[in-house]
């Protein structure tokens, strides 16, 4: 596991050197008496395409320019330089910050943003320019999700270096924050990851000891999984070689939560390694509604509209199961929630449904061994 440790430190150096390169580029242009300018990939919708090989959205060839010469560019250009400067400070001093904190910190440098959306956009610009996710610049979102299971991690955050913790140590689960995502994996007995849409079922799974019964690391996504959680799942998959199973509500929205973990989102088309293409959507499927005779609600208009949208989405073309389940949803016009299994008793979902789903043949496209 020592190599992993090196990898994290290495990555930090990479990021810092990329920021320095950006600063030097501007410095040299100014020094030559020129208005500094940069180009970066365009994030406009025309430039976002789906790459079937990478199994995620990517940015195309189009690039946009930013020049300090242009009166409309100079403000965002300065903001970008500031965010790079601030990220460099954070990363070199091994501190972290949040999106909101960045927005407020700007005021100290007389670099006010109109609102947090503006500062968020500039941070996304820096991601696009450098190809690194904001978490690697030590900037994290507020949203938190949690993990529980037998995994020892070694902290790399200042003050905790050398300390390690087992992720079963706290019965509510451990927040997936900067300290966890920057940690190194030491050892685990788990042989799979189960990502769960909702906090309530995550807690139930802990109570029912799913982590030991099924040798799994449990992750609560808290709805749409945050980017750092998605990238953490990717690491669990890549570094520990664990298969990933996703449990969501049985409706188009739950289906898409799983899809974003698997294929990523268009908003993050400028970044890599946020998605886990080999992850599996285990349920709740439309066919489960029939097979398990689950209590349901009718699909409403928005649900149906969403299903038709997803039907055309390139991410839903890779595996036949998506189209099959979308068609079935549209046919039965019903939806359900994970909690629906409680009609068969509190432990049914753990004792009956989950084992059946985990045994299910992996989906065809995902069967390719790494």
């Amino acid at each position: 596991m020592a190599t992993k440790k090196a990898k994290i430190a290495e990555k930090k150096l990479e990021v810092i050197s990329r920021l320095k390169q950006f600063g030097t580029q501007i410095y040299d242009q100014l020094d030559e008496g020129a208005f500094p300018s940069i180009t970066m990939p365009s994030r406009s919708t025309e430039n976002i395409t789906y790459d079937p090989t990478l199994r995620q959205y990517i940015l195309g060839e189009n690039r946009v320019g930013r020049s300090a010469r242009n009166i409309r560019h100079i403000r965002p250009f300065t903001q970008l330089a500031w965010v790079a400067f601030f990220s460099n400070e954070l990363t070199s001093q091994r501190k972290t910050s949040t999106l909101r904190d960045v927005y407020y910190s700007a005021q100290a440098y007389e670099m006010t943003f109109n609102d947090q959306q503006e500062s968020n956009n500039i941070i996304t610009d820096l991601e696009t320019l450098t190809g690194y996710a904001r978490e690697e610049f030590s900037i994290f979102p507020e949203e938190r999700s949690a993990i529980f299971g037998d995994l020892d991690i070694g902290y790399t955050v200042p003050g905790y270096e050398g300390k390690s913790v087992n992720l079963t140590s706290h019965p509510d689960g451990v927040l997936i924050g900067p300290a966890v995502t920057s940690s190194e994996f030491i050892k685990t007995t788990a042989d799979k990851v189960i990502a769960i849409e909702k906090g309530a079922l995550f807690t139930r799974f802990i109570e029912e000891s799913v982590h030991s019964k099924h040798k799994s690391l449990l992750i609560s996504c808290g709805g749409q999984a945050p980017r750092q959680t998605r990238s953490f799942i990717r690491r669990l998959h890549d570094e520990l070689g664990l298969p990933v199973y996703i449990l969501t509500d049985g409706d188009p929205w739950g289906m898409h939560i799983a899809q974003v973990i698997i294929s990523g989102s268009a908003n993050a088309a400028h970044l890599r390694d946020l998605n886990t293409p080999d992850a599996v959507w285990s349920g709740v499927w439309a066919s489960d509604i029939i097979d398990y005779k689950l209590p349901t609600d009718p699909l409403d208009e928005v649900d149906i509209k969403r299903l038709y949208e997803l039907q055309k989405d390139p991410r839903y073309q890779s595996d036949p199961i998506w189209q099959r389940e979308i068609k079935l949803f549209l046919k039965i016009k019903r939806k359900t929630e994970l909690e629906a299994f409680s009609r068969y008793g509190l432990t049914y979902i753990v004792d009956e449904y989950l084992p059946a789903k985990l045994d299910q043949k992996p989906q065809e496209n995902n069967r390719k061994k790494k």
Partner: protein
């Protein structure tokens, strides 16, 4: 059966009974009108001799009259031509007597206003008027007069003669009048201020009943060319005027009568017109029957080929003087003036002059401030009924990128031998198509110039803002880049900032 009684009333009596039509409607309005009429006579008297006017006005409290009104003494001194002694009694003591029956531009129209003021003073206070005047000759004459209202004749109460050691010329008039100064105060002071605006060559002094001094000093001694007297234009005559001309004429043929009494009628025009009207060229005008006179008048109006009147009888301010006057009273940030070419309505020549002032001392009212003048008289009442107001309101201002909440003053001066007032009170100008067209054209011209000014200002403003943005952000970029690059010395950005100034228009 009663018998209707008919009595002939004199002109004085008529105006005494109908003083409302001269604007003497209430105590505050009356005092305003009285001051205005006398001051205008003074200005005319100086201007006709090309003397830069010095007019001193003092209104002093005499006694309480009623709950709302007081008795005031009004004294107006000028340095004008003065009045020959034999004319003084009639000039101030007989209504409709005056020097303004010939055609040239003057402030007053009927020779009525000043005498109305005196008449009003007499009927409200029963006191005589004192007139002192000299034409600059050896003697100064002082008359104490009252008007015999029923007979329209002056009554001379006293007459004094003084030696004029210093060759003084001018007129001093002093009389008492009942009115309400407090309520008229704002208008009176506004009147002086605006009068000063279109008479930049005049010194105006006003001492009010509280002893406050308002002084408006001249900004120049240059004066407009005084108007020349002209004969009436054929389009502007009526039956009454024709009859009077026929009475006094010495011409014995129609052809020479037309040439001798009408403006811009020569041999050929007279001949062609008489053919058109079917009147024999050698007919004696005194032999025309009443019906023939009426037909002559109708034909004069119908005939299309009279030459338009020329404007030598007008005395516009001119662009320079208008500029001087507006600058003196408003001190605007930017000022444009425009004088239209002479035009005519119904045989009367007129000229429209306009100024548009922006910023500086222009009062901010949330709407354009409009200063209206006719023959250099400020028009202070009934703004909304005036042709200028209508033209200004109807203008598509967005086209000129001008909005009413900008600090903009519009000065409209219409001068004419016969200003088309709507009422005898001389408060607003009627909406005649010819006048409206000239006002609109003048307004478009000054608006175009203001638009250019505003565009330039906007440009300068944008440039400043632009430079401000570069000066704010470039040093920061330099600072962050220096830090990121791990350098010690900041790059020099002065040259870049200079280049922004130089190539200000690119990429904006």
């Amino acid at each position: 059966m009663g018998q209707a009684s008919f009595e002939e009333i004199s002109a004085s009596d008529f105006f005494y009974r109908n003083r409302d039509i001269a604007g003497l409607t209430n105590p505050s309005r009356s005092i305003f009108v009285a001051i205005r009429e006398v001051v205008e006579n003074s200005l005319d008297a100086a201007e006709s001799q090309k003397i830069p006017p010095d007019v001193y006005v003092r209104l002093s409290f005499e006694a309480e009259a009623t709950k709302e009104t007081q008795i005031y003494k009004l004294r107006v001194e000028d340095n004008g031509s003065g009045i020959p002694p034999r004319f003084i009694p009639s000039a101030f003591g007989q209504v409709l007597y005056g020097s303004k029956y010939k055609l040239k531009q003057a402030r007053g129209t009927f020779g009525l206003g000043g005498k109305m003021a005196v008449l009003y003073g007499q009927i409200t206070t029963h006191q005589p008027v004192t007139v002192t005047s000299s034409t600059g000759q050896e003697k100064i004459y002082t008359f104490k007069l009252m008007i015999d209202i029923q007979r329209n004749k002056p009554i001379i109460l006293d007459r004094k003669v003084l030696i004029n050691k210093e060759n003084w010329h001018g007129t001093i008039i002093e009389f008492t009048i009942e009115g309400d100064y407090l309520r008229a105060m704002t208008k009176i002071i506004e009147y002086f201020k605006q009068t000063a605006m279109v008479n930049p060559y005049a010194n105006l002094t006003f001492v009010d009943p509280k002893g406050r001094l308002y002084k408006f000093n001249r900004a120049t001694t240059v004066m407009p060319e005084p108007p020349k007297e002209t004969m009436p234009h054929p389009y502007g005559v009526d039956v009454e005027l024709l009859q009077r001309l026929i009475q006094i004429t010495e011409h014995t043929t129609m052809s020479s009568f037309l040439r001798g009494h009408f403006h811009r009628v020569g041999e050929i025009t007279a001949q062609k017109f008489l053919e058109f009207a079917g009147i024999q060229a050698n007919k004696n005008p005194k032999k025309l029957s009443h019906e023939e006179i009426v037909r002559l008048m109708q034909n004069l109006k119908k005939y299309k080929d009279f030459l338009p009147p020329d404007a030598s009888c007008l005395s516009p301010l001119g662009e320079e003087l208008l500029k001087a006057g507006v600058t003196k009273e408003l001190n605007p940030e930017y000022l444009v003036v425009h004088q239209r070419k002479p035009s005519t309505y119904a045989g009367h020549p007129f000229i429209v002059e306009m100024a548009m002032a922006y910023g500086g001392g222009v009062p901010k009212r949330g709407n354009f401030v409009i200063y209206r003048f006719a023959n250099k008289i400020p028009l202070l009442y009934d703004e909304a009924s005036d042709v200028s107001y209508r033209v200004i309101s109807a203008m598509n201002w967005r086209r000129y990128k001008v909005s009413p909440d900008m600090p903009i003053a519009i000065v409209v001066h219409i001068c004419s031998t016969k200003v088309p007032y709507k009422t005898v009170g001389k408060e607003f100008i009627s909406d005649r198509p010819e006048v409206r067209k000239e006002v609109a054209n003048a307004l478009r011209e000054v608006s175009r110039q203001i638009q250019h000014f505003l565009a330039r200002q906007e440009h300068v403003h944008m440039e400043k803002k632009r430079l401000g943005i570069f000066s704010k952000y470039l040093p920061k970029i330099a600072e962050f880049a220096t830090n990121l690059a791990g350098k010690e010395k900041k790059p020099d950005i002065e040259k870049l900032l200079k280049s922004v100034q130089k190539y200000g228009n690119e990429e904006s």
